[in-house]
């Protein structure tokens, strides 16, 4: 595998005959934080879904740690944190229960936690600073705390690949700082982290690699080489070059509406 963690070759995904991602190819090294940059509708979520096995590509292959997606799912290798959790916040589960759900893939048929599972859940909750609130019903957390709880569940899953969809959208500063620190720790532990984001300023601060996507993979590689104005203007259809890049938060709202995909 030569330290290659994510290997995507010529993947095309179509929904109801409409192509959402066209012959995407990508190789990502293990132990890196990688920013996935593109407009709404550029295929970021589709790429994630394909990597999770939620959509089956029309053609091409995806290998994670050299394994096909089917085997990857069974072994809980890939942990996924969606942009917003589509869950019922009144559901009668505690914060602890939710994080324990990250361990189900390792448990027997009855999902009975062993002491190892309990230890990992405790560690995960401590790392996101939620251990004190573990007995709260999940809906009794604040927005940032909810985000951290689901992040803790991904930690507890102990996959080698972590997919984060817009992790910093609408979170408080404490949560954002805590999560970035954790991501850097995880990178040191050898995990591969793929983050989809609109926040171009943050890319240069902690992403070693960048993937530029617009219906297909336009470019990928080390941030210093790929994160150029020319590449970005291809990604965003020529709108970035007009703005100074450094420390500028670019959001979709700053672009003309007709640039957005439906």
């Amino acid at each position: 595998m030569d330290g290659i963690s994510i290997q995507i070759e010529n993947v095309t995904v179509a929904y109801h005959g409409k192509v959402a991602l066209h012959s995407a190819s990508l190789n990502l090294k293990a132990g890196t934080i990688c920013g996935l940059v593109g407009m709404n509708g550029a295929g970021k979520s589709t790429l994630f879904k394909a990597m999770m096995g939620f959509v089956k590509p029309v053609s091409g292959s995806i290998l994670i740690n050299g394994l096909p997606i089917r085997r990857v799912q069974k072994s809980s290798l890939v942990a996924y944190v969606p942009q917003s959790e589509d869950v019922d916040w009144n559901f009668p589960v505690s914060v602890y229960d939710v994080v324990m759900m990250g361990r189900y893939g390792y448990m027997n048929l009855l999902r009975m936690p062993r002491s190892l599972d309990r230890r990992i859940v405790r560690e995960s909750l401590e790392r996101v600073d939620l251990w004190q609130l573990r007995d709260r019903q999940i809906g009794e957390l604040s927005g940032g705390q909810k985000k951290r709880a689901f992040f803790a569940r991904a930690l507890a899953q102990q996959g080698t690949v972590l997919l984060l969809d817009e992790p910093f959208a609408g979170v408080d500063i404490k949560t954002e700082k805590l999560m970035i620190d954790l991501l850097i720790e995880l990178r040191q532990a050898g995990q591969t982290i793929l983050i989809s984001t609109h926040d171009l300023a943050s890319i240069t601060t902690f992403c070693d690699q960048v993937v530029l996507i617009n219906r297909s993979i336009l470019a990928y590689g080390d941030t210093s080489e790929v994160f150029t104005e020319e590449n970005l203007s291809r990604t965003f259809g020529g709108f970035v070059g007009e703005l100074p890049l450094a420390k500028r938060r670019l959001t979709q709202g700053s672009m003309s509406p007709d640039q957005e995909q439906p």
Binding site: M52, G53, F54, Q73, K74, S75, S76, V78, A79, Y80, P82, E85, D86, V87, D88, N90, F91, P92, V93, S94, D97, V98, M101, G102, Y104, G105, L109, L110, R111, Q137, R153, Q157
Partner: protein
């Protein structure tokens, strides 16, 4: 008549003993399942399935095979029909559900009217636990066994499926399988509930105890326990009351369940109306 007599006297009749035991069992099973129904938001689906089993029950009766088999086929069949129509047309889901279950139910009515000599419509519609046959008791026990064992084994998978099916999928759980398990259990318990309260009121058994417990607890296991206790209580006491007042058994059971829900709604320690009113009053005072 003193209280002991009120409870003991009816038990001298064998039919009352059977009725109380069967309705208690059905109360337990339906209540357990009701926790999943309400958390998944499947109340309307439960109503649909319980009505759609009607033609299956009649056909099974005519063919002399267990009612549960016929009900199961039509229960699952109705949901597949709902899924198919929803996927292939532009009609919204609640419309499709309303359309399919009434269609199946109407078919059942037609079938009953053609074989009236051998089957009693009111028993299907309103239940007949006081006159339940031994074969029906055996069937109820088997259904209850299957349901409780399945729920015990898949308890956590089903909780995760109801709470966050995306995550369930991402860690390799087969959510299509879980979907059909929950659905099949719904069809099976609809048959069990049909014996006691009848097709029309079965959905109450599959919804109300769970809803009551949901107001009283923030922990799933507690919620399940509370649902079962209120379910059994309503079933048993409802059966007694119906004997003493010589009224509809299914009606008595469901009225009791509803009363318990209303009490929980008002007096629940955390989510009740009284507590909510008090906290918002306290808040207002501190603001002023």
């Amino acid at each position: 008549m003193d209280l002991v007599q009120w409870f003991v006297a009816p038990l001298q009749h064998e039919f009352m003993l059977k009725a109380i035991l069967v309705s208690a069992l059905v109360g337990i099973v339906c209540s357990a399942l009701s926790c999943y129904t309400i958390l998944k938001g499947w109340a309307l689906m439960g109503d649909a399935v319980s009505h759609a089993v009607m033609p299956g029950v009649v056909i099974a009766y005519v063919l002399n095979i267990p009612l549960a088999v016929g009900a199961f086929v039509f229960g699952v069949g109705s949901v597949m029909a709902i899924g198919f129509i929803k996927a292939k047309t532009r009609v919204k889901e609640d419309t499709v559900i309303g359309l399919v279950f009434t269609g199946f139910f109407a078919l059942g009515l037609v079938l009953v009217s053609k074989v009236r000599s051998s089957i009693d419509l009111t028993h299907i519609l309103f239940g007949n636990v006081l006159g339940i046959s031994d074969a029906d008791i055996v069937q109820t026990v088997i259904i209850s066994g299957i349901t409780l064992v399945t729920l015990a084994i898949l308890r956590k998978d089903l909780i995760l499926f109801c709470f966050d099916s995306t995550h369930a999928r991402s860690i390799g759980l087969n959510i299509t399988f879980l979907y059909y398990v929950l659905l099949s259990l719904l069809s099976l318990t609809a048959v069990a509930g049909l014996q006691t309260v009848g097709i029309i009121l079965v959905v109450a058994m599959l919804v109300t105890p769970g809803a009551t417990a949901f107001l009283l607890s923030d922990r799933f296991d507690q919620m399940m326990l509370i649902a079962m206790v209120t379910g059994v209580f309503s079933s048993v006491i409802g059966t007694y009351i119906s004997y003493h007042i010589d009224g509809s058994t299914g009606g008595c059971i469901v009225v009791l369940q509803t009363l318990l829900f209303v009490m929980a709604m008002i007096f629940a320690p955390k989510h009740g109306l009284l507590v909510r009113a008090r906290t918002s009053q306290a808040l207002n005072k501190t603001v002023v």
